[in-house]
């Protein structure tokens, strides 16, 4: 019960202090919207439905990784993060509370291109149940990557730089814009080491109906990435922040 109160209040504080701030709301809307427009202008004859998995994945990835990395680094520089480390709540609960807000923000980001697309096309064929779980899983893994970045840096600008160092290569290697089968052979193993590859494939199946891998395998891989990233982040927090 006590852990529950702490969890809810950390989440509520983060949403109020960070995610509902006008600059972040506008980032959450403008960024996915810009990506959607870029893709539509780039391929005017392209089918919006086929672009949607890529747009959703990109929005979640960019929304979550930078937000968590920046907010945690910001709290650490002001030392308010110490309050959480010194509170009588488990490190697992604290990490979950911190990523929960980012996951919600990522899901919000994901639906901006969906809403935009709904003005142009019918979305009746989309398997929303699977798509929602995929968005949720992509948000979890991306948030945890943000956490991993936060543990590795000291300054907010470093968090931004390191986030981009991971995100952009990931975008081009996960099969969203270039099919993995068309990538040079030496890059393909890297593609299969990225959580986004599996999330994007599930989304592609749920929205367009085309999978390159079994959805069960993809969900399994995303779950494995989430558990792995959680364990590494937790270990790194304990090792680096509790000296």
């Amino acid at each position: 019960m006590k852990n529950g109160i702490a969890f809810w209040n950390i989440l509520k504080k983060d949403i109020k202090n960070y995610y509902l701030k006008p600059p972040n709301i506008s980032w959450g809307i403008i960024f996915p919207l810009s990506w959607t427009l870029i893709q539509l202008i780039r391929s005017p004859g392209g089918k919006i439905l086929e672009l949607l998995p890529g747009l959703i994945s990109t929005s979640v990835l960019f929304g979550t990784t930078s937000m968590l990395a920046v907010t945690i680094t910001f709290e650490r520089s002001g030392r308010s993060f110490e309050r959480l480390l010194l509170a009588p709540i488990s490190l697992n609960m604290m990490v979950l509370a911190k990523i929960a807000g980012t996951i919600l923000f990522g899901i919000f980001n994901a639906f901006v291109p969906v809403i935009f697309a709904s003005f142009f096309i019918e979305l009746d064929t989309v398997n929303w149940g699977i798509a929602l779980i995929a968005v949720f899983m992509i948000a979890i893994t991306s948030s945890l990557m943000g956490l991993l970045i936060a543990v590795s840096v000291e300054q907010v600008f470093e968090a931004q730089t390191l986030s981009n160092f991971f995100r952009f290569p990931m975008l081009f290697l996960c099969g969203l814009f270039v099919p993995i089968s068309s990538l040079p052979i030496f890059l393909r193993p890297i593609s299969y080491c990225l959580p986004l590859t599996y999330g994007a494939d599930i989304l592609s199946g749920a929205i367009v109906g085309v999978n390159t891998m079994s959805p069960t395998l993809c969900f399994g891989m995303l779950a494995a990435f989430a558990i792995g990233l959680f364990m590494i982040s937790r270990h790194n927090i304990s090792r680096k922040w509790i000296l």
């Binding site: 202090n17 309050r83 009588p88 000296l243």
Partner: protein
């Protein structure tokens, strides 16, 4: 209430804390006094679970901090050396949030937050964001946040460094008030007067080691010093003959004449007042005041640690970091 045994902390080749041991009794105010870099914050960080000891044992109310860190943290209130609340939130929200971290329910935390804002004279400021607070107000709210869950032990790292006189006074009064309520207080400071005024017992820490510890009078007694009595008179400065006579009469003492008609008698033994006053009276000199001059805690600190008090003052001027 607090038991620290053979505590060591090493960062690579550098040893910040070298094998220190001490106990703090329930309801006691215990102070760590030392300059910057002495190992005060390293020690407090290990005690609160923010840093892992290289070697040693820390027990708070019988709880092993290394093994049951979260259980120990539940009974601690912690005030770090920097006021670290959330700038975006107002005073009331900050206190309620800190209470929630300790699992307090909404009604309970709102009631306690309101009470603390009143006690710390921050009721009006409670509606303002933390970033708009003065340094003194920030410090007071940070202490209030540490008290929100009524901890058994309060850790204060440099509680009054860099804040105004009035806020410092209020904080000191509050610390003494907590002691009366039975709270155990562990504080670090480089203000000698603060340690002397507040602490039941003090440990001098230098270069990661406890050089001496005890009550103020125990620390005073731990150094050998000459007994010095200061006599304020009406006209001794005019009577150089009397001073010569005095030196002949009281051969075991050293006599120093001051231009303000006062006299210092210095001796290794205690100085009996009556013969001396009679001696002066017989020569027509009135004594208005006779006072034994004892070494200050600052003198004791300098003697025991070998650190000039000017270094502590310099740390203080830098803002205590």
């Amino acid at each position: 209430m607090i038991s620290v045994t053979n505590l060591k902390k090493r960062y690579g080749d550098f040893t910040a804390v070298k094998d220190i041991s001490f106990d703090v009794k329930k309801g006691e105010i215990f102070g760590f006094l030392g300059p910057n870099g002495a190992g005060k914050t390293s020690t407090i960080n290990m005690m609160i679970g923010l840093s892992r000891p290289t070697v040693g044992e820390i027990k708070i109310d019988g709880i092993d901090v290394r093994k049951e860190t979260k259980k120990a943290q539940a009974i601690m209130g912690i005030v770090p050396d920097e006021s670290n609340l959330y700038n975006e939130m107002d005073g009331f929200e900050n206190l309620c949030f800190c209470a929630a971290l300790y699992g307090m329910r909404k009604e309970e935390r709102e009631l306690k937050a309101g009470q603390l804002l009143e006690i710390f004279k921050l009721k009006e400021a409670g509606k303002r964001p933390f970033k708009a607070y003065s340094k003194g107000m920030r410090r007071k709210l940070t202490i209030a946040a540490a008290l929100i869950h009524s901890p058994k032990v309060l850790f204060l790292d440099e509680p009054t460094t860099g804040i105004d006189v009035e806020s410092s006074r209020q904080i000191r009064e509050m610390i003494l008030g907590l002691k009366q309520q039975g709270t155990t207080v562990f504080l670090t400071t480089h203000y000698i007067e603060e340690a002397e005024r507040l602490c039941d017992r003090i440990a001098f820490i230098a270069a990661g080691q406890i050089v001496a510890s005890g009550t103020v009078s125990e620390l005073m007694d731990s150094i050998s010093y000459n007994h010095t009595v200061h006599f304020a008179t009406d006209k001794i400065a005019e009577s150089e003959d009397v001073v010569l006579e005095l030196q002949n009469r009281f051969k075991d003492s050293k006599v120093e004449l001051r231009p303000d008609n006062s006299l210092l008698m210095i001796s290794e033994e205690r100085i009996p007042l009556l013969p001396l006053m009679k001696f002066l009276k017989d020569r027509g000199i009135e004594v208005y005041e006779a006072r034994e001059l004892r070494p200050s805690l600052e003198d004791v600190f300098v003697e025991l640690t070998g650190i000039e008090s000017s270094i502590l003052k310099k740390d203080r001027d830098k803002g205590g970091r």
